[in-house]
């Protein structure tokens, strides 16, 4: 998943890599629960935190937080796969939380050390991907939908049909470049679950996308919003946050979640196994869930916060923005992406290889 980024250069950022190594080297063998050095290594998406959050945290607790950045969940997963290089708090998306729990890559949270849990909207206090929220607490959430240029569409593109099953916008469409998302909305359009495990349904979605390929300009790896902003395409399937970012720059751009429903995602704060400063990590998660700290972050990055106390401090402009908070009816038709197991994942990857090779 792509968050708000400019050029996407950070994708293979060597800085993040060296930072991780440096963090790994700085670990003392004797870092124990009782006497923790006042440090914290935070591994986060780019442009995904308040302007002064880390400084505020330092002022409140005396803990110096250092932040490294990753570009997508795959990068995060690949980096932690062979062992934690020294991170204390990470922010994976729901299906990756599930994957990491299965892989033994996360430490259970001690809810007693995070009193600000009381600020979280009740809806988010339980989750299918992490029953009882033993390993994860919500950071931000959002949807997948269509970003579009208002002056170039005949009507609000509130159906996946315009992207997947129509010649109307031929050559002016960009879809995301990952298997689960594109096949997922294909399944949704065909009336199946975003998380189908039925090979026949997956192949049906694959054929739908293959038929539509002649109308699609490109599968944007991490720059659908840039294509839309530069006029390269007029409709782009994207994560809402990416589109919200360019909506601030260009009044002619808008965002809609199609009526068939979509993917609703949740980025979660977790403590990876082997975190050198677990106590500080709990303090940090608690700080993020604080009303004022949470409000400052949400106000700056313009994502939907699950923090009720923070929302109460924020403006109506934010709270009533349909691109941030879709209406309940639309939301009811959205599904979270679920980790479907390695075998089903292979089905999706093979279908995607065929889509790109067709």
């Amino acid at each position: 998943m792509n968050k708000r980024r400019g050029l996407g250069v950070s994708r293979r950022s060597f800085l993040a890599g060296t930072g991780a190594v440096a963090a790994g080297l700085s670990l003392g063998p004797g870092s124990s629960w009782g006497a923790e050095e006042a440090k914290l290594n935070f591994y986060n998406w780019d442009t995904y935190i308040g302007e002064t959050t880390l400084d505020d945290f330092n002022k409140a607790t005396g803990i110096a937080a250092k932040m490294d950045l990753y570009a997508d969940n795959d990068e995060l997963f690949a980096k932690l796969r062979e062992g934690n290089p020294g991170y204390d708090v990470i922010v994976p998306t729901n299906d990756y939380v599930e994957r990491m729990i299965l892989g033994g890559m996360l430490t259970p949270l001690e809810h007693g050390n995070i009193p600000n849990i009381k600020n979280i909207d009740k809806f988010f206090l339980d989750a299918a991907f992490d029953p009882g929220r033993k390993y994860s607490l919500p950071y931000m959430w959002g949807t997948q939908g269509i970003g579009y240029r208002k002056s170039k569409v005949s009507s609000t593109p509130n159906t996946w049909k315009v992207l997947l099953d129509s010649d109307e916008y031929s050559g002016r469409i960009a879809l995301l470049g990952d298997a689960t998302s594109v096949l997922g909305i294909g399944l949704k359009y065909l009336g199946y679950s975003y998380n189908s495990t039925n090979p026949k349904e997956i192949i049906e979605a694959e054929q739908l996308v293959i038929r539509q390929k002649r109308n699609i300009k490109t599968f944007a790896k991490d720059n659908g919003q840039d294509l839309l902003l530069s006029g390269e395409v007029d409709l782009a399937m994207e994560w809402n946050g990416d589109i919200l970012q360019i909506m601030a720059e260009d009044d002619d751009i808008s965002y809609v979640v199609p009526k068939e429903g979509s993917n609703v995602w949740q980025d979660c704060m977790c403590i990876p196994t082997g975190a050198p400063h677990p106590q500080n990590a709990h303090a940090f998660i608690n700080f993020i869930l604080d009303a004022e700290a949470g409000a400052a972050i949400a106000d700056f990055i313009q994502y939907a916060t699950p923090n009720d106390a923070a929302r109460a401090l924020l403006s109506d402009d934010y709270n009533n923005n349909p691109a941030i908070f879709p209406d309940d009816e639309t939301l009811a038709r959205c599904e979270p992406s679920i980790y479907l197991g390695e075998d089903v994942q292979r089905l999706y990857d093979e279908a995607w290889t065929r889509v790109l090779a067709a």
Partner: protein, 305 residues
């Protein structure tokens, strides 16, 4: 160090760091990937090394062979383009005045000071619908249209009703151009090194003996620069074969190269054993290309002898 046998200690001391480097950072990681290619996934992160050949069998399925073939064709096209453009450039530099040579070589190498990922992003700004090339074309179109109107031909709309930007990006041509751009210096430098060393007397002799310029080039210059050509081809073709971010950024809906499939196995698809098997097939292809070079240069040596 005339003989390493006489100065064994010096030899070993001098060779220890590079040998260590080669073993620790090349052979060992490569060995790990090789072993993983005979493994099976067990859950999310565990891989059991079972000696299975399933990954290779899967990698040889028609769809992946097609993608391999497509990658070879595109890398080949890019290599040929590099050679066709690079040879005259190298030739011109080699025959340029002595004081210009360093500057010209510098101009070839200069783009290398910038990370290739950033240079590829720069190409997007050049090629896109509202990019530099299309803006330039639009400017020319407007001037031409104005000129036609001035001659009273405006109503005929000879140039079309309005300017249509050329679709330069998001297709396989853009990917090939991107590869050419990324690896061009790799072609020019070995060619230059080779051409620069030609004894000019051969060329003069050929011309004096009545051969035309074209004949001289084909019969004298080309055979003498054969090694440079082969080195350039290998050095461009091998990395071009594994390219993935160029096709990611500049490619359209059908620009998937084998590098993209491999990258996906190590990231989104989380199938390291299969990715490892594909990587090794790619490496065997590379070995094949190198063997081809060894064979052809061996034949050349015999011909020259």
């Amino acid at each position: 160090m005339e003989s390493w046998r006489k100065n064994a200690l010096v030899f070993w001391v001098l060779n220890l760091p590079p040998s260590f480097w080669l073993v620790a950072f090349f052979l060992v990681p490569l060995g790990i990937v090789w072993v993983i290619s005979f493994g099976e996934k067990r859950g999310v992160i565990d891989i059991a090394i079972t000696g299975t050949l399933d990954n290779y069998a899967r990698a040889l399925e028609p769809i992946y062979l097609e993608i391999f073939w497509k990658s070879i064709v595109m890398a080949g096209a890019a290599t040929v383009a590099c050679l066709l453009v690079g040879y005259p450039v190298a030739f011109a530099i080699a025959f340029a005045a002595e004081r210009w040579k360093p500057i010209l070589l510098m101009l070839v190498v200069l783009p290398f000071w910038i990370n290739s990922l950033i240079r590829t992003y720069a190409l997007i700004a050049v090629f896109r619908t509202r990019g530099y090339i299309n803006s330039g074309l639009e400017w020319l179109w407007e001037k031409a249209d104005w000129l036609l109107s001035a001659f009273g031909l405006g109503h005929l709309q000879l140039l079309g009703e309005r300017f249509e930007p050329a679709a330069l990006l998001y297709n396989n041509t853009a990917v090939t151009l991107g590869i050419v751009y990324a690896f061009f210096p790799f072609m020019v430098l070995p060619l230059y090194a080779n051409i620069d060393k030609i004894d000019r007397a051969y060329i003069e002799a050929s011309l004096d003996l009545g051969a035309g310029h074209w004949r001289t080039f084909l019969s004298v210059v080309l055979p003498l620069t054969w090694h440079g050509i082969m080195s350039g081809i290998i050095i461009v073709f091998v990395p071009a074969l594994g390219a993935f971010f160029i096709s990611d950024l500049l490619g359209g809906t059908d620009s998937q190269l084998i590098g993209n499939v491999i990258e996906r196995q190590f990231k989104a698809a989380n199938d390291w054993p299969f990715g490892a098997a594909l990587s090794f097939l790619l490496m065997y292809l590379t070995f094949g290309a190198l063997a081809l070079r060894a064979i052809t240069s061996g034949r050349k040596h015999r011909l020259e002898a």
